[in-house]
């Protein structure tokens, strides 16, 4: 028996190797919904370019989309200074760009210098801007580099998830990459072809070089109907994000093809216009600025129904500004907002509102009537608005639903302020609250209920300003978490945004694809692209 053990071990290793070989290779196919605007990873500002950057870029630190923890990639370790201004990386040895040039600390230094160059206007660099002054980059050794910012940057290490390192020496510039794939071909309006990076540094537990796939074909297809049809025909292997109706349709035919990863980071919310100079009657602005009024509206909305009916149960009632999907920043002390029309009416009575023959009137006798605007063409928002119209009708409020084209809607919300209530969604790609500074600061452009205030107009907004600045300048996570937890509590109490639902992260994945673990963070389906494989019979046809 003892003598046979090595043979058995050898057989198992061979079996794994053969199986691994059988699974490897082939070309994954899916769609980009728009033309990538750039291949320069520092200039990425659109979804399509972000997809290319994720698949081709090598980063120092990667946020694991499953655990949401920051993990070493090209940096084997890193150390933050106590004041949060500096970070020192120790880099991986023997890593090479796709064109064969070696990866060193000089590449990191060059990338950071380019990223922080004001002339480049890098959206990636914006997340690192703190205080005035230059960013200092010091190469300590070929595998050690220190970056010092003028002021502390909250959550500094995790921000490097977005920074794809570029080569300082390669003649191919941004086309020389450290990620699992490189751009091999691109035909504008048609496709982007990625090929396996032969120099990719990562290996699996068996020592086999990753990625398993030979390449990825990204067809540029903006029409979602055609994308769905192509998926059903087996021409593409996945749809990274689909809406509830497509999910149900595809799932009806083949349940194995659809995945619901649970509530995503995205939220749908409504808010009232609280801008004092808005061209709407003063008594209505007074309603909208009343906490009791906003809370009453919030309580009179049946969120369970919104999630179940408008989203076919592919959404969850929202509790506050942060989705429970955000494992790091969600305040677990927040309670779900109960649907309670009796409580809503009691709150309204405190402000002098009265229900008169089914019509709600304020203390001066004005009938409570307002419009909710939302963007035309978004059937989920239109459905929610119509359901809210009926829900609020039960407490005597008359609601008019108005759909507008997006530019008109934005003009009303940001320039003329000629609207009463709005229903829109917020797409969150970043877990860190720092990404939402312009939403929460009273001076922010995206402080939608009352933007660009010269000084906070209410005490609770002043408190939110203070807490957001506190969390942004603190380095210790517990201090930041405590401050942002309090922000979430104030927002839940004051209801400037009435959070409705968190949509689920839905995707469609072919059974030909193996190793997939859909998650709620973007990119939901191919976050572990280097470990995805195609079934052998499919891979053979796509060599």
């Amino acid at each position: 028996m003892m003598r046979r053990t090595p043979l058995i071990r050898l057989a198992i290793i061979l079996l794994i190797a053969v199986s691994s070989l059988a699974q490897a290779g082939g070309e994954l196919r899916f769609c980009l919904r728009s033309e990538p605007k750039t291949f320069n990873p520092l200039l990425v500002a659109d979804d399509a370019s972000e997809t290319i950057r994720y698949l081709t870029g090598g980063v120092l630190i990667r946020v694991n989309r499953l655990t949401q923890a920051a993990e070493p990639e090209l940096a084997t370790s890193w150390k933050l200074s106590k004041d949060g201004r500096s970070i020192t990386f120790t880099l991986r040895d023997k890593a090479f760009f796709s064109d064969g040039t070696p990866f060193t600390a000089e590449d990191v230094a060059t990338t950071v210098r380019q990223m922080m160059d004001p002339q480049l206007h890098s959206p990636t660099g914006d997340a690192f801007r703190s205080g005035t002054g230059d960013v200092a980059v010091q190469v300590l050794a070929p595998n050690r580099v220190t970056i010092t910012f003028p002021a502390g940057v909250a959550g500094l290490d995790r921000q490097f998830d977005q920074v794809a390192i570029m080569s300082a020496k390669s003649p191919k510039k941004e086309m020389a990459v450290l990620g699992p794939f490189y751009v091999a071909d691109y035909k504008a309006g048609s496709y982007v072809l990625l090929r396996r990076n032969p120099n990719y540094w990562k290996k699996d537990t068996n020592g086999r070089q990753l990625p398993y796939l030979d390449g990825i074909r990204l067809d540029i297809q903006s029409n979602r109907d055609i994308e769905a049809l192509r998926f059903r025909r087996g021409e593409i292997d996945l749809i990274n994000s689909i809406d509830a109706e497509y999910y149900d349709r595809i799932g009806e035919a083949s349940p194995a093809l659809v995945r619901d990863a649970g509530p995503s980071l995205d939220s749908e919310q409504m808010w009232f216009n609280q801008v004092e100079k808005a061209p709407i009657p003063g008594y209505r602005i007074a309603w909208f600025r009343s906490r009791n009024f906003r809370r009453a509206v919030s309580e009179a909305i049946n969120r369970d129904d919104l999630a179940r009916v408008a989203f076919s149960s592919h959404a969850k009632p929202a509790m506050g500004p942060v989705s429970p999907a955000n494992k790091i920043w969600f305040n677990a002390k927040l309670k779900p907002i109960a649907y309670n029309t009796a409580s809503a009416l009691q709150r309204l009575q405190k402000d002098g509102f009265r229900l008169d023959k089914g019509v709600l009137r304020d203390k001066d006798g004005h009938q409570v009537e307002f419009s909710i605007v939302t963007n035309s063409g978004n059937k989920y928002r239109e459905r929610m608005a119509t359901m809210i119209q009926q829900d609020l009708g039960k407490i005597g409020m008359k609601v008019n639903v108005v759909t507008l084209d997006f530019p008109s809607l934005i003009e009303r919300m940001t320039e003329s302020f000629n609207y009463e209530a709005a229903l829109l969604g917020l797409t969150n790609v970043d877990l860190d609250p720092n990404a939402q500074m312009t939403v929460w600061l009273s001076s922010g452009d995206n402080h939608q209920w009352n933007p660009r205030q010269k000084s906070p107009e209410t005490s609770w907004e002043a408190e939110i300003d203070r807490l957001m600045r506190e969390q942004a300048s603190a380095v210790d996570f517990p201090v930041r978490k405590a401050a942002f937890d309090r922000v979430q509590e104030i927002v839940a109490d004051q209801a400037p945004f009435i959070y409705l639902v968190n949509k689920n992260a839905l995707s469609a994945i072919s059974t030909a694809l193996q190793g997939e673990v859909p998650v709620v963070l973007r990119p939901q389906t191919y976050w572990n692209i280097e470990r995805l494989t195609l079934k052998a019979e499919i891979a053979k046809t796509r060599q």
Binding site: L229, V373, N400, T403, D405
Partner: protein, 268 residues
């Protein structure tokens, strides 16, 4: 009236009567949300099933038909009147006035009027009831839809300007206004009538287009446009044929109008 036209007339009459009798025929209110049974297939309680919010499709189809069928002719009347005034006057006066009017009409025709409608719709006050919104939508269609008809009317009026009966009337010393309103416009009646009938299906389709863009009649009031929006995801349509009823109605109504129009044009 041949058989086809009779059939068209009968179908239109039946549809109009059914929509007018919606209050009695519909099993529920068009806005009532049966939230426990969204997207239901046809049942005894809901003969055409329910929509995504659980609203009875039959009720919404009947009320939507009423909205589209009553207001499209009203919009057609408005646009035909405008076309009659602008085109008739331009054709009757002739000369530089006609050239200027027709240049303005051409300019109006060249405008991308779907975008124009979207823009004008965006400029309107937000706080209008669904009933007011439907009136506004069709009034806009009527106000913006006169240009093509005006050209036809202008050509008709210009043709009459030098006709013998007008020359005789002028020779008899009849004033300009009297000549226009008593002699010319009544003779343009067949042209105006044809334009009126032609405009009705055009406005029905225009409202349906606006509805598909989500810019037509405000919720919860149904119209054919909002009902047809359910069919926009044809790629994922999976044999729910009861959803096609509004489309079938639209086809039947527009086709029936075409048969009636051809009759009227022949009569004219």
């Amino acid at each position: 009236m041949n058989k086809l036209r009779r059939l068209s007339f009968a179908l239109l009459l039946a549809i109009v009567l059914a929509s007018l009798g919606a209050d009695f025929l519909a099993p529920a209110g068009y806005a009532t949300q049966f939230r426990e049974t969204p997207n239901s297939p046809p049942t005894r309680a809901h003969l055409l099933g329910t929509d995504a919010l659980g609203r009875d499709r039959l009720a919404r189809t009947l009320y939507g038909t009423r909205v589209s069928l009553l207001l499209a002719p009203a919009a057609a009347l408005l646009s035909t009147l405008l076309a009659g005034m602008i085109g008739g006057f331009a054709g009757y006066v002739g000369g530089a006035w006609q050239k200027a009017s027709m240049a303005f009409t051409d300019l109006f025709l060249s405008l991308p009027w779907l975008f124009l409608l979207i823009t004008v719709r965006a400029l309107l006050p937000l706080n209008v009831s669904p009933t007011a919104s439907v009136m506004v939508t069709f009034a806009l269609l009527g106000i913006l839809g006169w240009a093509a008809s005006a050209r036809v009317v202008c050509a008709g009026a210009a043709g009459m300007r030098d006709s013998e009966f007008v020359l005789l009337a002028r020779a008899s010393g009849i004033g300009r206004a009297r000549l226009l309103f008593i002699h010319i416009l009544p003779n343009l009646k067949p042209v105006l009538l044809a334009q009126f009938w032609l405009s009705i299906p055009i406005f029905i389709l225009a409202e349906a287009n606006l509805g598909i863009l989500g810019l037509g009649v405000a919720e919860p009031l149904p119209s054919w446009g909002s009902l047809l929006r359910e069919l926009e995801d044809l790629a994922t349509f999976s044999g729910e044929f009861w959803k096609l009823v509004p489309l079938a109605l639209l086809v039947v109504v527009v086709t029936s109008f075409q048969f009636l129009i051809s009759h009227n044009e022949v009569s004219a």
